[in-house]
Symmetry: C2
Subunit: 436 residues, 2 copies
């Protein structure tokens, strides 16, 4: 090989093989459909935006991760999430939208993190948000777990729990200790509890200014244990007189009660005061969803309530509540751990193969099957029958419809189940009935 360029892709940019991509698309489809089942509206923002628009509110840490470049006189960036484009979209198009505006977006985002196992630089986010114009009822916070519940039931990745809390509770507690200016720090640090452990959290809390007693109280607090009702009861009994705390407890109780009405089973919704979410962006209800299978670490679906979506762009207040699924990472963990497995290298349900090169009847059969919603590949290359069958085997198509002289005469096909090896001659109508 001379004068050839080595074909390669960037680290952290996922590219799947056919069987993997087919499986990935199945999940994408379930996600899109479930979001639409609840009346969320699709939105698709550009991949590239003006940097001043996209990075209006971004922190210094995230800034380093942005794919940013100049073109002509324009300073451009690849989108790093789907929330900022939503904020920009709402601010731009508010008069043409109906509020509450329920939108979903499923698409790739870009973050130039240092590549590590299971982390991607280009990855899918699958978001829903409900945006109010000026106000948005707490009932919306209760619908979100219903969407998550329905979605993860359908995705069938095993048992899962939606952890729920409300940032006002912990904020209020910290305020009641007299650390009103430390609430953001405390929530950011508590968020790391599962990752870095109790001792490190205490250490960090002390470092930002809490005394040791206060730090330990915070830890004891977020570890309060019991059923959802028991935790709420305990919180009330603490007799903490702080407005934020009381409002947080009330909201939490109400959201959980209403979520049950939405059909979320009690076992799938767990009040957990340690859920803080790192982002100061969130102002009330927060969610994290975990799979009970230990091989999948961390939250697979997180989000919460925020007061002001589009404050970078407008003085109008757009409160909202939403969640996001980082699908690329989740998919790659599920696949690597064997919780999910690929099935086939083709979307086709059946492959029509002929004994000789007369394709006429085979093509009629294929068109008939397609018209009846059955994905049908025809092996059209003029190869030996054995080679055709071996191809069908290798791509893993579930059924093969064999057509030889007899079949053409009888206007039938021999349908072979590639898993069991069973085969039977039947009419096209019978094939349709069997495969539908």
């Amino acid at each position: 090989m001379k004068n050839k360029v080595e074909p390669r892709i960037l680290a952290g940019f996922m590219e799947l093989l056919p069987d993997e991509q087919i499986l990935f698309n199945k999940y994408l489809q379930i996600i899109r459909e479930t979001y639409e089942e609840f009346g969320f509206v699709p939105l698709e923002s550009p991949m590239v935006e003006y940097s001043d628009v996209l990075l209006a509110k971004i922190g210094e840490d995230t800034k380093k991760e942005i794919y940013r470049f100049n073109r002509g006189e324009d300073d451009l960036s690849l989108r790093f999430d789907l929330t900022v484009p939503l904020a920009r979209f709402v601010a731009m198009n508010a008069q043409r939208l109906n509020f509450p505006f329920r939108r979903y977006q499923v698409g790739k985002v870009f973050r130039g993190e240092r590549p590590q196992k299971g982390r991607f630089r280009e990855f899918y986010q699958c978001d829903i948000d409900v945006i109010g114009n000026g106000k948005l009822g707490l009932i919306n916070d209760a619908e979100i777990p219903a969407v998550i519940y329905r979605l993860f039931s359908k995705l069938n990745f095993g048992d899962f729990v939606i952890r729920i809390s409300n940032r006002k509770v912990l904020t209020g507690l910290v305020e009641s200790f007299g650390y009103k200016d430390k609430t953001d720090d405390v929530l950011r640090i508590v968020d790391k509890l599962e990752k870095i452990g109790k001792d490190s959290v205490v250490e960090e809390l002390v470092k930002v200014g809490l005394d040791l007693g206060g730090a330990n109280k915070v830890i004891d607090f977020v570890k309060i244990f019991g059923t959802n009702t028991e935790i709420v009861d305990q919180l009330r009994k603490m007799g903490i007189s702080n407005e934020s705390f009381e409002q947080g407890v009330n909201e939490l109780e109400e959201v959980i009660k209403r979520a049950y009405e939405f059909g979320v089973p009690e076992k799938n919704l767990k009040l957990d005061l340690a859920i803080a979410r790192g982002l100061s962006y969130y102002t009330g209800t927060v969610y994290e969803t975990v799979l009970l299978d230990e091989r999948i670490s961390g939250s697979v679906c997180s989000g919460g309530r925020y007061d002001d979506l589009a404050e970078s762009y407008t003085d109008v207040s757009y409160p909202g509540v939403g969640i996001s699924i980082g699908l690329s990472r989740l998919f790659s963990q599920l696949l690597a751990s064997g919780i999910i497995a690929t099935e086939s290298n083709t979307p086709a349900k059946v492959m029509v193969i002929t004994l000789d090169d007369d394709l006429k009847f085979a093509l009629e059969v294929a068109n008939e099957l397609r018209t009846n919603g059955i994905k049908t590949e025809v092996y059209i290359e003029d190869d030996k029958f054995k080679k055709k069958l071996s191809y069908a085997n290798k791509v893993g198509v579930p059924f093969v419809a064999i057509i030889g002289e007899d079949e053409i005469k009888l206007k039938k096909v021999t349908l072979k189940n590639m898993k069991t090896g069973e085969q039977e001659m039947m009419s096209v109508e019978e094939v349709i009935k069997k495969l539908k």
Copy 2:
């Protein structure tokens, strides 16, 4: 507004409003499904690649259009089509693929053209290609029109014609005139016939070295008129003794004959010798698809046969045949001309609205409808009934299910058709039957 960033997007980067996006997604879905119906396998390449990989074979004109930037020590580019990534993918993964490799990819590509009406800088391409390892039978060239035919029938954009030719025919003709070194130039110029007209084409042909007689002969040739059979007959009768010419005519005749076998009606497949495709990349069959509606200009689906897909990356030859649809531009033309129209601002088929704030039964109904595949939004905000109904009206949901005291008692809903205004109280089972 102070300290606010003006929310705006880049020119040429399409962002649709909800009703438009819903319609756009409907077409995307039809395209994906139709490609899969023929057994094409989904592929999704990264948006960003190494510039040396992506731009290995690119011309100087296109180079200016590339979104190219550095990150760290990496020279990166946004993909400008889906064919180069396919070539790179095949070269990288050949041992893990089954040939013929039938892949489709639907995704955005980026070209920084000067923005003009109907042109986008970020736009969707929807491609299929069949790739052989070393060889690929001509029969594949006949299946492509079958896919186009089925797809555009389903898309329902009105009557269309797939124009077909074979570059070898015109190449052979030009060779027979003694202009063997001018064939690429001639094809590139002839490709512009519809755009710039006969006189300008003659002028350009003379400019690259043809004599006036030769140039006029080329024009007469590509204007040969008749049924497909008549044109083939005329070509044969010309008695041009040139290998490329003869092979081209034979291939063209064979591909058209077989395409009919694949179910393409004669009226939808038209031999047109003026179809040359600008790219020297194509080596045999070429396709362009036009809508008969005059408001849609140019080819909406083009492609052809090529000898060597991955020559930039490997010495192994991968011949292929494929097509591409530039969906963003087509969609925007169809919408602007009124050939297609948006229908609704929500994917929901029905919206459940309650007379008071008791949502319990409404949520049960919604879950039942969703379980039966009916997309159902519940108006959950605690607003006045009139406001709820007005929202339903504005988003354009086809049906509203009204729930008041009577309905709760009777375990029924009042289903209102928002178009006709008709309404009737019925059980949830009856709603399901009606809306499915």
